[in-house]
Symmetry: C2
Subunit: 122 residues, 2 copies
Amino acid sequence: MKKKAVVNDTAVCQVRMQAISDTMSILSGKWKFHILGTLIEGNKLGFMDLLREVNGIGTKMLSKELQDLEMNRLVSRTVMNTKPITVEYSLTEYGETLSPVINELAKWGVEYRKSVYGDTQV
Amino acid sequence: MKKKAVVNDTAVCQVRMQAISDTMSILSGKWKFHILGTLIEGNKLGFMDLLREVNGIGTKMLSKELQDLEMNRLVSRTVMNTKPITVEYSLTEYGETLSPVINELAKWGVEYRKSVYGDTQV
DNA sequence: CAGGATCCTTTACGATACTG
DNA sequence: CAGTATCGTAAAGGATCCTG
């Protein structure tokens, strides 16, 4: 009882900080947000699709980042039964819960660009 | 007219990707989210306050990250007229627009922790 | 096609010491 | 107090080549 009552700002802040740390460590690196952002749009994409859509990424990084995301059950990987084998990547249900985060991030970026270059042009 | 009509998924996606890139490059590094998260809570914090609140950061990094944030007009720095000089950091009005982003991030992190350790404990 | 292995460069970060 | 300077390490990322 007493214990519950003395929750202070510091404690609250600690939880928040911990939460931010967790999220950032899962989404760390240069590419995770891009990959997730891409998968939110078109669900079910092949390795090559992602390689094309995620601007500038190479096979090594793409492969590695996808494995990270898979380990955290954000992305699912399905090997298709095609001639030269094909793989389909998509968000898991759990991965979908990241949509609000990604969307806020993207939304802010759009506004940022407006504030820098003005509303006139890209 | 015609031109406007042919907006396709790729174009939309490009804008989104660009937006995500922008946001991430501004908030890059290990500490920016933490610093901003802290400033959202308690506005007006001194250098030492931040050094204490942002768990694990050192003076060099804190100084550097704050300069980055200041350059992007997300944080304002005010030198106070005290005996040993003091500096107050706070979010700018523009910096406040990041609150939804940070909050979504923190919220997701909290849920993540629950999903891993269960609802029982921290 | 999907990715692993290798090598190499860059830069991010941390610890420590020092200054107005 | 609020930083800067210097040095050193570790990790992240990129290019290229190779394979089932």
